[in-house]
Symmetry: C2
Subunit: 299 residues, 2 copies
C-alpha cells in the first residue's frame, strides 16, 4: 500500500504535466479553423490515464532524462494514441459512441471533423519531435522521429488495426492474437518507453534493448488486461462501451483462453517484463511500479 | 514549344524517379498486413502528375541539391498528398468514387482500409524524413520535419479541409476563398518547394523566403485552375468526377468570379509568382517552366 501511495505521488504530477504540455501545444480554439481545434482539444485533454507518457517518464529515469524533454516526447506519443482512438471509434471502424466517459469525437462533432482531428493530431505529434530539443545530438533525435513513425504506421499501430479488421469473426490462434497486439497496442507502448529513455544522457544500446523487451511484454499484458476488463467491467467504470469485443465477434484473449487463463497469462507477462529489468536495480523502480499499476488496474 | 519539350525532358526522369522511390519505400504487398500494404500502394503508385515532387526538384536546383535527397523529400510530400486524397474521397468527406482514373481507395477496398491507408501514408512520410539523410546538418533536417508537420496539420492542409467543410453552401468572399486554399492546397505546395530547396547546400534564408512567396502564389494559381478544370473539363480527361464542386454547392473561384475572371486571376497569380523569382536569374528556369506547366495545363 505504501508503494501504491508512493507511485501515485510520482505519477500524479507527471500526468498533470502532460496535461499542461498538451494544452500548450494544441492550437487554441479561437484560432481558425475553430471547430477543428475545439474537437482536437476535446479528444486529447482532460481524460485518459496517460499510461504511455508515464512509461516515457519511467523510461527516462533510467538515463536521467530531463523532465521537460520527456514531457514533449510523452505528449507526442499521447497525441498519436489520441488520434488512433478517434479514428478507431469512427462508424467504419468500431462504431463506438462512448470514450473516456464522454461521447466519441464523431458523435460530439461529426464524422468528417473526427477524421480530420485524427489526421491533424498525428501531424502535431511529429511537429513536436521536430520543433523541441529532445536529445543532445540532433541526429539521435531524427532516429526518434523514425522510431515513432514506424511504431505508428503500417508495420506498427495502423497495421495492427488492419490485422484486427481482417480478424473479425475469425478464430485466431494465440500466436496470431499476439501478432495483432504486438502491432496494435504494443508498438506504441514500446515507442513510449524507448523515446522517454532516448531523451536521457549516456543512453546505452544494450540497456535500451532490455527496456524495449520490458515494454514488449508490458504491451501484451496491457492488452490481455484490456480484454479481461472489456468482458468483466461495467461500462460506467470502463468509460467506454463494455462487452463490445464479444458483441462485434472480435477475437480476444478472453475468447481464446477464458477469463481465468487470461489473468494467469497477464501475470506471467508481468513477470517476464520484470525479468527484463533485473540488471537495472533501483533505477527501474518506477518501471516496476508502472507494470504493477497496468496489470493490477481495475479500470 | 522548344521550352515545353525541354521541360518534359527534365520532368519525365524526375517523375519516374519519384515513382521508383515510392515503390521502394512503400512496404511490399507480401508483408503483413497484406491488404493494407496493397491498398497503400494502390493509392500512391502509378498515377498523378507528381506536381509537388517536381516543385521540390525545381526548388532544389536553386541550391544544387543532391538528387537522391530531393527524391526522398519529394516522396515524403507526395505521400502526404496521397493520404489526403484517400481521406478526402471518403463518404464522410467528398464521397467520391473516381480518382486518377481509377476507383477511389474505399471503393476498391473498403472504408476502414482507406482510413488506415491515409493514416499509415502520413506516418510513412515522416518516417522518410527521420530515416534518410537529407541535410548536411541534422538540426536543419529536424526543421524540415517541423515544416512538413505544420504544413500537413490543423494550421495547414488538414485545417484547409476543415475550413472547406464549414464552407459548403456558404458564399465566401475572395479573401475567405484565399484563406481556405492557402491552407488546403497552398501549405503543402509551399512545403514541397521549400523542402526541396533545404536539401541543398548554402541555403540562403532570404532566397528561401522568395521561393516560398513564389510557391504561395503558385499554390493559389493551381487551385484557381483546378476550379476552372472542374467546371470545364470532362470526367474522362480529369481522371476524377468533374462538376463535383457545383454539385456539392462548394464555393470555388468559378462560382465567385466566373470562368473568364478566374482564368485572368490565374494568369495574374502566375505573374506574381514569376516576379518573386526575378533575382534568381537562370537558376530558377525550372521553377518558371513549372509555373507555366501548372497554370497552362489542360488536365
Amino acid at each position: 500500500m505504501t508503494s501504491a501511495v508512493d507511485f501515485q505521488s510520482w505519477a500524479a504530477p507527471r500526468q498533470s504535466r502532460i496535461e499542461t504540455v498538451l494544452d500548450r501545444v494544441l492550437p487554441p480554439t479561437r484560432i481558425i479553423p475553430e471547430r477543428l481545434h475545439s474537437a482536437m482539444r476535446y479528444s486529447s485533454l482532460g481524460a485518459g490515464k496517460r499510461v504511455r507518457p508515464l512509461l516515457a517518464f519511467a523510461g527516462g529515469e533510467l538515463f536521467d532524462a530531463d523532465l521537460e524533454r520527456v514531457s514533449i516526447a510523452g505528449a507526442a506519443v499521447e497525441l498519436i494514441h489520441a488520434y488512433s482512438l478517434v479514428h478507431d471509434d469512427l462508424p467504419c471502424m468500431d462504431d463506438d459512441v462512448l470514450r473516456r466517459g464522454k461521447p466519441t469525437c464523431h458523435v460530439e462533432y461529426d464524422e468528417a471533423t473526427a477524421l480530420l482531428v485524427g489526421d491533424a493530431l498525428q501531424s502535431l505529434a511529429f511537429q513536436l519531435l521536430g520543433e523541441y530539443r529532445l536529445a543532445d545530438d540532433p541526429a539521435d533525435q531524427l532516429q526518434m522521429v523514425k522510431l515513432l513513425a514506424i511504431a505508428s504506421g503500417s508495420r506498427g499501430m495502423a497495421g495492427g488495426q488492419a490485422i484486427d479488421l481482417q480478424s473479425v469473426g475469425a478464430k485466431l490462434s494465440l500466436p496470431e492474437l499476439e501478432l495483432m497486439h504486438i502491432h496494435k497496442t504494443g508498438a506504441l507502448i514500446r515507442a513510449a518507453a524507448v523515446l522517454g529513455a532516448r531523451c536521457g544522457t549516456n543512453v546505452d544500446a544494450k540497456e535500451l534493448s532490455q527496456l524495449d523487451t520490458f515494454a514488449k511484454f508490458m504491451g501484451l499484458a496491457y492488452q490481455v488486461i484490456d480484454d479481461v476488463l472489456d468482458a468483466e467491467a461495467p461500462t460506467a467504470t470502463l468509460g467506454k462501451t463494455a462487452g463490445k469485443d464479444a458483441q462485434q465477434d472480435k477475437p480476444t484473449y478472453v475468447s481464446a483462453l477464458g477469463i481465468v487463463e487470461s489473468k494467469r497469462l497477464a501475470e506471467e507477462l508481468r513477470q517476464d517484463a520484470m525479468r527484463a529489468l533485473e540488471s537495472f536495480g533501483s533505477r527501474a523502480t518506477r518501471l516496476r511500479q508502472l507494470a504493477d499499476f497496468i496489470v493490477l488496474r481495475q479500470f
